[in-house]
């Protein structure tokens, strides 16, 4: 009897070992979950669901987006970082993840995970923000705007989707580069922040092309500049701040991350699939129709980019915390 069990154990071990080898080749054999740390309806959600709809066809397995929100993305990020590293649970990452961690550090708290807990798979987009004003705003050009902000330092108010988030930082970075001071009014989410600027509740706002450009086309907003180095394809008439002599850039990347211990063959396969999806016509159409631009960056490059950006953001946060304490 005991012998039989021993034999069975060996057999099981062999089967398991074989499964381990064939694992990457067969991958995926079941549904893949994408954890979106942000609320349904946001930029991440749109892109993740667009990605899922194309990736399903290539992978031959369902790709399910699950929103796990909380603590400005920390709850979902933590779940993603601690997920089993088998390639079946990935995280919809964005610039918010390294930023939220830096913010914790700047405030003297120890984050529950770091960006080193992830392996980059690839980005979907890396879009700059647009500086937008209400339709009946007196400012027609960036020069008007800068002159007014100089004349009334600290009085022009802007809305953002939340403190130190994707739509707050570009305005801070722009203000620093141009030597301007603004009043910050955080709203609970990107939607309410846009509502505030369309409804003339604030003087200006910054937001991403996918949210903003339909409103520009419908004459509900005016864009003064792209906060970045280049103009956008979808609104070529809007100048970039760099052209106008202000050295400010910020790109809100959105992409996929896997737990860092995911086996290399699976990571490679995911990187390859992501590249195919991001360059497919179906995906590009879904992203570019509302005015955004697809921008693929490979996983390893993304990790290096995150390192460089996080250093800059950490310095900015340290300043903000110091100013806030005053």
């Amino acid at each position: 009897m005991e012998k039989k069990i021993r034999v069975a154990c060996v057999l099981v071990a062999i089967v398991l070992a074989c499964a381990g080898v064939s694992f990457a080749a067969d991958y995926p054999t079941k549904a893949i979950t994408l954890i979106n740390p942000q609320a349904p309806g946001g930029t991440l959600d749109i892109q993740a669901r667009a990605f899922a709809s194309v990736a399903e066809k290539i992978l031959g397995q369902p790709v399910v987006v699950v929103n796990k929100t909380g603590a400005t993305g920390m709850v979902g990020g933590l779940a993603g970082a601690q997920a089993a590293p088998d390639g079946y649970t990935l995280t919809v990452g964005s610039v918010n993840i390294p930023n939220a961690l830096e913010w914790e550090i700047a405030n003297g708290r120890k984050p529950a995970f770091t960006r080193h807990d992830f392996a980059g798979i690839g980005t979907f987009t890396m879009s700059p923000t647009l500086l937008i004003v209400p339709m009946d705003s007196p400012y027609k050009t960036l020069a008007d705007f800068v002159a007014a902000a100089k004349a009334k330092p600290g009085q022009l108010a802007f809305s953002s989707g939340g403190l130190y988030g994707m739509s707050h930082l570009p305005a801070e970075i722009f203000g620093k580069a141009a030597g301007l001071k603004f009043r910050h009014v955080p709203y609970g989410g990107g939607g309410p922040s846009l509502t505030a600027v369309v409804g003339n509740q604030v003087d200006f706002s910054v937001n991403y092309p996918a949210n903003t450009i339909p409103l520009l086309r419908g004459n509900k907003l005016r864009a003064l500049a792209v906060i970045g180095a280049k103009r956008l394809k979808s609104v070529p008439e809007v100048p970039s701040v760099k052209e106008l002599g202000i050295d400010a850039e910020y790109y809100g990347w959105v992409g996929l991350l896997a737990p860092v211990k995911t086996p290399k063959p699976i990571v490679d396969k995911l990187r390859e699939v992501t590249k195919t999806v991001v360059q497919s016509k179906a995906f590009v159409d879904m992203i570019e129709e509302p005015g955004d631009e697809v921008n693929y960056m490979g996983g390893e490059e993304l990790m290096k980019y995150m390192d460089a950006e996080s250093a800059k953001i950490a310095a900015l946060y340290a300043d903000m915390v110091k100013e806030g304490a005053k």
């Binding site: 349904p40 309806g41 009043r183």
Partner: protein, 504 residues
């Protein structure tokens, strides 16, 4: 005439076999997620998005919108029958609805809830159809100062939500406000009472607390009363509302429609606020406010209508401008986007077949829902015949599963159970639960809008009377406050005259 022509074209789109079928599926699923505690329309829509990939944009939005307004119908069922809110907007239906069930009028409450939902929904669509572009542009002007002024009125009305004495209501309001402060302060990033628990960063969820204090609290105190509490057999005629009940419902239904439609335009989870405000309004207007809390039909009719009207008008900013004001419209917007239709200011003029097809389907959907829901009243009422010793554990299980299913969070389960014990204690010591829940909902928003207003103005209070809307709302709250003071101070007939009468 333009509207009518467009509507005819919309019905041509919506009345194809396929679109009626999709509308039916959406409404059915919406009713189901409404009934299931914990899972609301948001999760319901998100779950079915992948199922729409093979459809065209019109079909997809018809189905998803069906889930959204269908959930408003379903949500009242468990509130009324078991005191468990099936959906956040139906919390208030627990107050009167469950009391009606205990008096054997649960069928009538369900009937009126469905009927009010139908009227609120249908009139809401009419408002949406005629006024969408106009209202969308007005709604975005409603900023933090106006929102603060509106919530101040709600806050003053809070006091009258309780059954009786100041000392039984005020502590509950304070406790609700206190629980509302837990979480990360959105304006400065400061942590409040989170004790390093990440799940508390976003505050204590309102759904688990409401399910706990109402549902689980009820179960605990019922168990104590008697396990063999006998549910009486309901005859079919008792399912229908009596003539007096119908007559008493008309006013609340129409007021609820107007109120709900207006509140629905505002940002945030408007239908929760709409239903609560409708309840307090009805209590205020009632000739017998002291009977509220014992099962008044007005307290079901008004709120259940208001949340349906609000769910229709909440789609106006999303359809008219492409800016979703609540989470459920936001998910619908994504679904449209995946199908290559981007809602925005030009949506109605560029995609008339989608917009008008949707509008027409919503009329059809509301008819489907009332046909679906009225027979269900008879079915659900039979649940009450199940012996309590079997029913209660099942309810408890459904509450736990429903709560866990939303965020897969153990912390929320703990919140649910702790709230259940709290709810039991509140009942024991005869404190009012409604003001507690409402304070918890409006507390964080009233604080945030107040501070946002002052951040906008750089600390100057003049921002609160800068716009005519907020000025008018402040004047109204002043009048309400003075009226409250007057009522409290005026000589009470009962106190001395009764003594005299008894003396003679």
């Amino acid at each position: 005439m333009d509207v009518l022509n467009n509507l005819v074209a919309g019905f041509q789109t919506a009345l194809t076999f396929k679109n009626i079928y999709l509308c039916f599926i959406g409404c059915l699923w919406g009713t189901v997620v409404g009934i299931l505690p914990g899972i609301g329309p948001l999760a319901g829509i998100a779950l079915l998005i992948p199922a729409t990939f093979g459809m065209d944009a019109t079909g997809a939005i018809i189905m998803l919108a069906g889930i959204y307004y269908g959930a408003m119908y379903g949500g009242s069922t468990t509130s009324i029958l078991m005191n468990i809110p099936g959906e956040s907007a139906s919390v208030v239906s627990c107050l009167e609805g469950y009391q009606m069930t205990r008096k054997g009028r649960g069928g009538a409450a369900l009937f009126i809830a469905a009927w009010g939902s139908w009227i609120g929904g249908t009139l809401g669509i009419a408002g949406l159809m005629f006024l969408a572009p106009l209202l969308a542009n007005q709604a975005v002007k409603f900023g933090p100062p106006e929102m603060f002024a509106l919530l101040l009125i709600a806050f003053i009305l809070l006091g009258s939500l309780g059954k009786g004495s100041f000392f039984r209501t005020a502590p509950m309001i304070l406790l609700g406000l206190l629980i509302g402060t837990v979480g990360m302060d959105q304006l400065t990033g400061t942590m409040r009472f989170t004790h390093g628990i990440k799940e508390l960063y976003d505050g204590i969820g309102f759904i688990p607390v409401a399910m706990g204090v109402f549902g689980i609290g009820e179960i605990l105190s019922s168990v104590e009363e008697s396990l063999v509490r006998q549910a009486h057999r309901v005859r079919f005629r008792e399912l229908l509302p009596s003539r007096e009940e119908l007559r008493a419902s008309w006013g609340p239904i129409f007021r609820g429609t107007g109120l709900g439609f207006f509140i629905g335009l505002l940002p945030g989870s408007a239908h929760v606020l709409a239903s609560f405000l409708s309840y307090t309004l009805e209590k205020r207007l009632s000739r017998k406010p002291q009977e509220f809390g014992t099962g008044r039909i007005e307290g079901v009719a008004g709120p259940e209508t208001a949340n349906n009207a609000a769910s229709e008008s909440a789609m106006i900013p999303f359809l008219g401008l492409g800016i979703p004001t609540g989470p459920a419209p936001a998910v619908m917007m994504i679904a449209l986007l995946i199908h290559g239709v981007r809602p925005g200011p030009l949506f109605i003029s560029e995609q008339p077949q989608v917009f008008w097809g949707l509008v027409a389907s919503m009329y059809i959907g509301n008819v489907i829902l009332i046909i679906l829901n009225l027979p269900l009243v008879g079915l659900f009422i039979n649940l009450l015949r199940v012996p309590f010793r079997i029913l209660f554990p099942v309810i408890l299980l459904v509450c736990l599963v429903g709560t866990y299913a939303v965020n897969s969070s153990v912390v929320e389960l703990i919140i649910l159970l702790v709230s259940g014990v709290l709810g039991y204690l509140f009942r024991k010591f005869d404190f009012d639960i409604a003001p507690f829940i409402l304070a918890m909902i409006i507390g964080p928003t009233i604080e945030m809008t107040f501070r946002q207003s002052l951040m906008r103005s750089g600390g100057s209070f003049s921002i609160f009377w800068a716009s005519p809307i907020s000025l008018a709302l402040f004047a109204l709250s002043g009048v309400l406050l003075l009226w409250n003071v007057y009522r409290a101070l005026r000589p009470k007939r009962a106190s001395w005259e009764k003594v005299l009468e008894e003396g003679t």
